[in-house]
C-alpha cells in the first residue's frame, strides 16, 4: 500500500474518462453497460447485502425483534387495516406522507428563497452583512426545533403553518450562511477583472459571485434536504395535522405497533432521499463544470 503506483486514487487521476476499462477484451457494448452500471454496482451490492443481514441476521439472533422488525414484516404490515381508520396502513402512511411531504417541500422552497435573498442582500450591502451574519451564525448554533411549541401557540395548534415555520427556519439559516460565505469567497482577481470592465455591483454579483457561491449553496441544500424531514416530523409532535407522519409515528408507537411505526419512519426517510437526490441532480445541472461525485459534501 505504500507504493504509489498501486494507489487507485493516483491512477484515476491520470486516466481520462471513457478510457477506464480494466481490460481490453470487452466488447464496446459490454463496456458501455459496465461503465454506466459501475457507480451503482457497489452500492447495490452493499444495499442488498445489508437487507439480507437485516432480514436473516436479526431473525437468527435478536429475541427483541419486534423493536426492529424485519424488512419483510414491515412490508407485510402495510396491507393490514389501520386501527380506527377506514384504511390500510399503507393508505394511512401514504396520506400522511403527502401531508408531511407538502409541508416539507413548501417550506424548503420558501426557506431557500429567503436564505438566498438574505445572502444576496447582505453581500450587496456591507453594513447589513456585519450585523446580520454574526446574528445568523449565533441563531444557527441554537436548537431551532425547540421553537416548535412557540410556533404552535402563535400560528394555531392544528394548523400546518406552525410546522412550516419551523422547517423554514431550519432551512433558512444554513442556506443563508453558506451562500453568503460563498458569495464572499471569490477570487479577488476575478473581481478586479470585472471592475476593470467597469461592471456594476449587481453585475459582479451575477457574473462572478453567484457562480462561485454555487458549490456552497448546494452543500447547504443537500444538508437541509435531510435535516428538514427530521425537523418536520419533530414539529408534528407538538401539533399540526392529525394525518401527518409525526403524529402517525406517535400513534403507532403508542399502540406498540412497531412495524407500522418503522414503516412510517422509512416513509419519512424516502422523502429525504428523494429531496437529496433532487438537490444532487440540480447541483449537476447548475454546475456542469464541476463533476463532483455524490460523496463530496
Amino acid at each position: 500500500m505504500t507504493s504509489p503506483d498501486m494507489n487507485p486514487a493516483d491512477v484515476s487521476i491520470m486516466q481520462t474518462p471513457g478510457q477506464q476499462s480494466p481490460n481490453g477484451f470487452k466488447s464496446a457494448a459490454a463496456k458501455a453497460v459496465s461503465k454506466a452500471a459501475s457507480p451503482w454496482l457497489l452500492p447495490l451490492i452493499f444495499g442488498v447485502g445489508g437487507l439480507l443481514i437485516w432480514e436473516f441476521g436479526l431473525w437468527a439472533t435478536n429475541p427483541e425483534r419486534f423493536l426492529l422488525p424485519r424488512p419483510s414484516e414491515i412490508i407485510s404490515v402495510l396491507s393490514e387495516d389501520d386501527r380506527g381508520v377506514d384504511n390500510t396502513i399503507f393508505e394511512s402512511i401514504f396520506e400522511a406522507s403527502r401531508t408531511t411531504g407538502f409541508i416539507i417541500l413548501s417550506s424548503l422552497v420558501v426557506g431557500v428563497i429567503l436564505g438566498v435573498a438574505a445572502a444576496l442582500i447582505t453581500t450587496r450591502f456591507r453594513a447589513t452583512n456585519e450585523v446580520i451574519t454574526p446574528l445568523a451564525v449565533a441563531m444557527n448554533a441554537t436548537p431551532i426545533v425547540a421553537l416548535a411549541p412557540i410556533f404552535n401557540n402563535w400560528l394555531g395548534l392544528t394548523s400546518p403553518r406552525s410546522n412550516q415555520a419551523v422547517v423554514v427556519l431550519i432551512v433558512f439559516f444554513p442556506v443563508f450562511i453558506n451562500t453568503a460565505r460563498g458569495l464572499n469567497t471569490v477570487d479577488p482577481n476575478q473581481i478586479e477583472l470585472m471592475q476593470s470592465l467597469a461592471s456594476k455591483p449587481w453585475t459582479i454579483i451575477r457574473r462572478v459571485r453567484i457562480p462561485s457561491a454555487l458549490p456552497f449553496f448546494f452543500t447547504a441544500l443537500k444538508l437541509v434536504s435531510s435535516l428538514c424531514v427530521v425537523a418536520a416530523i419533530v414539529a408534528e409532535y407538538f401539533g399540526g395535522s392529525q394525518s401527518s407522519l409525526g403524529s402517525k409515528i406517535i400513534t403507532y408507537a403508542g399502540f406498540t405497533q412497531y412495524d407500522a411505526a418503522w414503516a412510517a419512519v422509512l416513509a419519512g426517510s424516502i422523502i429525504g432521499i428523494v429531496l437529496y437526490a433532487l438537490a444532487s441532480v440540480a447541483e449537476r445541472l447548475a454546475m456542469p463544470w464541476a463533476h463532483r461525485s455524490w460523496n463530496s459534501p
Partner: protein, 290 residues
C-alpha cells in the same frame, strides 16, 4: 530475529546461516564504496500496462551516478523525469530492469532511509513549526527528543534559518520554505538527495541565491544529488553531470559532463558557462528535429 527463525526451521543448517552471514558481510564491505551511488540498468516503466491508455513513461534507461556527484535531469514536460526520480526513490517499481541505490535495490534503500527528497512544492506540514518539520523524519526513525532537537538546530544553521525555528511555514517566504524542505531532506544525513524541480516556483533572484546555497550544502555534506529542472542555466550552473532526456518514450539521449570548477557568482558570466549552456541547448534541440 534471524537466529530464532533458524532454530525453528530445521532446513536452515548452521553452515547455511554462516554462509548468509558471510555474504552479508561481503556485501556490506563491497557497498561501502557504493554509498551515494545510483545505478539503473535497462529500466523501463509502463503505466497502466493493461489499459488502452497505457503510457510508456521510460524506456531502456541506463544511468550510473557516482558518489558525490551532482546530476541534473533536464527535458521537456512529460518526458519522465519525475518518474525516473521516483524509481530511484523506490516509490514506484520498474516494469523492466533494476534500479540500485547504494548497491542495493531501490526499495530496500527507501526502507533503510538512504536518501532524502524535496519537491517543487515545499510540502511542509503547516501544523508543525519549522523545527518540528525538520524533526519529522527523525521522529519516524525513532530518534530521541534531545538528539532530534540538536540535529534540527544543526540543519537550521546549514540552511541559515536558525532564527525561524519556532515559526510556522505560513510565516516564511517561498524561498525560506524550500530551504526548510532541504533541511528536512538532509536531516538524517542521507547519502543521496533527490530533488524534483525544487526551485521551479521561485523567482529568478531567489532562485540564483538558492542555487548557490545548495552548492554550498553539497560541498559541505558531500551528498550525491539528483536534481530535476526545466532551466538550462540552472542545470549547467549546478551540476557535474547533465542528463538530457527525450519524451515518448522517455530516454536519456545525451549525458554531458560539466567542468566549471568551483562555482561563484562570476561563473554565470564566464565564457565556458555559456559554452556549456549552448551544448545542453543543442542536445535538447537535436532531439526535437529527430
Amino acid at each position: 530475529m534471524t537466529a530464532e527463525r533458524a532454530t525453528d526451521n530445521p532446513q536452515v543448517s548452521e553452515e547455511g546461516l554462516q554462509d548468509s552471514m558471510d555474504t552479508l558481510q561481503d556485501s556490506m564491505e563491497s557497498r561501502q564504496h557504493l554509498l551515494g551511488s545510483v545505478a539503473a540498468q535497462g529500466v523501463s516503466k509502463v503505466f497502466l500496462p493493461n489499459s488502452t491508455s497505457k503510457v510508456t513513461a521510460l524506456e531502456d534507461i541506463n544511468l550510473h551516478i557516482s558518489p558525490g556527484s551532482f546530476t541534473t535531469l533536464i527535458g521537456p514536460s512529460g518526458c519522465g523525469k519525475s518518474t525516473l526520480l521516483r524509481l530511484v526513490a523506490g516509490l514506484i517499481h520498474p516494469t523492466q530492469g533494476v534500479v540500485q541505490v547504494n548497491g542495493k535495490p531501490a526499495d530496500q534503500a527507501r526502507k533503510d532511509r538512504d536518501y532524502g527528497m524535496a519537491f517543487q512544492t515545499a510540502s511542509l506540514f503547516d501544523w508543525r513549526t519549522v523545527r518540528k518539520n525538520i524533526e519529522l523524519p527523525l521522529e519516524l526513525m525513532g530518534w530521541r527528543r534531545g538528539a532530534r532537537q540538536q540535529r534540527a538546530a544543526e540543519m537550521l544553521e546549514l540552511v541559515q534559518l536558525p532564527e525561524f525555528a519556532d515559526s510556522y511555514p505560513s510565516e516564511l517566504s517561498g524561498g525560506m520554505q524550500q530551504r526548510v524542505a532541504i533541511a528536512r531532506a538532509l536531516a538524517f544525513k542521507p547519502t543521496l538527495l533527490l530533488m524534483d524541480e525544487p526551485f521551479g516556483a521561485l523567482d529568478e533572484m531567489t532562485r540564483e541565491h538558492m542555487q548557490a546555497e545548495l552548492l554550498h550544502i553539497w560541498e559541505e555534506t558531500n551528498t550525491t544529488i539528483i536534481f530535476i529542472t526545466h532551466s538550462i542555466p540552472e542545470a549547467v550552473f549546478l551540476s557535474t553531470n547533465v542528463c538530457v532526456m527525450t519524451p515518448r518514450p522517455g530516454r536519456i539521449s545525451t549525458q554531458i559532463e560539466i567542468d566549471l570548477g568551483k562555482r561563484t557568482d562570476d561563473t554565470r558570466e564566464r565564457e565556458d558557462f555559456f559554452a556549456s549552456i549552448v551544448k545542453v541547448r543543442e542536445a535538447l534541440r537535436s532531439q526535437e528535429s529527430t
